[in-house]
Symmetry: C2
Subunit: 228 residues, 2 copies
């Protein structure tokens, strides 16, 4: 019961709500993505591994909702605000098979986490620590990386297709990040600033953030054995 634990009430700053909304929504969609991947194989062992990871993401979503509640915020509003963006991302990146699904789970999770960590630089220390811990332990990598690498070594045609797929994922993710930052005033003011309200960041810093996210994506693709 977060209400009882908290000696001093949690800070419900707008940026903390934005950040937790984003991260919570990311966890929920990671759950949905991994559960959908489970249906893409008939090998029980893989189904079970994906299901178990999906449920871990769902528990993280619940943790975020609990924290928002403990802050006195409405989790449905805070997390729900990100549902259209995430839905749009998923509509544009529907995997055609298990491999595309797994690459998406790993790479998509990574991109959301990166953006979450970037945002958390602007949040209070308590929220920052909470988000860091949450994003730390998703542990997709250990499962997806060897699985995809093994598949690559067996299917010569797969590498090119998955490399293109990765480019599609990062392209769509960056497009959504930019759209989001333009659409959500809180994020826009924070990350970029407006003519009458300078942000803590600015357009140059925002561009550098996107560049950092792209670099991290490239590193993840390399880990999978794929060009970006």
């Amino acid at each position: 019961m977060p209400y009882e634990e908290a000696a001093e009430p949690l800070e419900a700053s707008p940026i903390a709500c934005e950040l937790l909304g984003l991260v919570g929504c990311g966890e929920l969609f990671a759950f949905e993505t991994l559960a959908a991947d489970a249906t893409r194989t008939s090998i029980l062992e893989i189904k079970a591994a994906l299901g178990s990871r999906a449920c871990r993401e769902f528990r993280n979503f619940e943790k975020v909702a609990d924290r928002l509640r403990a802050m006195g915020a409405d989790p449905d509003a805070a997390i729900g605000a990100y549902v259209p963006t995430m839905t749009e991302f998923h509509r544009h990146t529907a995997p055609r098979d298990l491999y595309e699904g797994l690459v998406k789970a790993y790479v998509g999770d990574g991109i959301t986490s990166d953006f979450g960590r970037e945002l958390s630089n602007y949040a209070d220390p308590g929220t920052r620590e909470f988000v860091a811990e949450l994003l730390e332990e998703t542990g997709q990598a250990e499962f997806v990386v060897p699985f995809v690498r093994k598949a690559l070594s067996k299917n010569p045609g797969l590498e090119g297709r998955l490399a293109l797929w990765g480019r599609r994922l990062i392209g769509e993710a960056l497009a959504q990040t930019q759209r989001l930052t333009a659409d959500r005033e809180e994020l826009s003011v924070l990350l970029v600033g407006t003519p009458d309200q300078p942000g803590r960041g600015d357009l140059a810093e925002f561009a550098r953030m996107l560049a950092r996210m792209t670099d991290a994506h490239t590193a993840r693709m390399k880990k999978l054995g794929l060009a970006s």
Copy 2:
């Protein structure tokens, strides 16, 4: 740790393995169905409710796998044996929207549970009790029934479509049950018997079992406010 608890080892009879295989696979597919339903709505509250139920089904799947392991059986083999049948059922009953998805989750879960309970009449008391407890607490009904009833009152065209959908679900489920009983020797011998090996049941009893399952389905459809 089931191994440590068990004062006397669990009985690994063929029928216990069949039954747990069926029930475990049913739980896994219930997880997949509910998680897929979560993607069919953009209302966060409903996404969260479906996700939470999906994860409960997944935990039940894990409990079944643990018990099979504690019996000295291979859960991948026992549960995996039912994956083709379940996959076939799902291929023939792909929901077109959230309503069809929810009716399928509720009604499909009910049919699998009914078949599980029928089979458990032939199993040892320990397995019977384990399965009964597991099937008791799925609790789809409290969520799905009011949700569907409310939708029916708002969408006049929905009732006819969902009634037909229910008929498709039970038809496909009974077809798969018959196919399964014919294909899996253990089930066939048990439920129907063979010329050289009389079963504990026979063809007449098997037909009565299908009739009982159909009755239970009719009752569930009625609870949803739908004709069967």
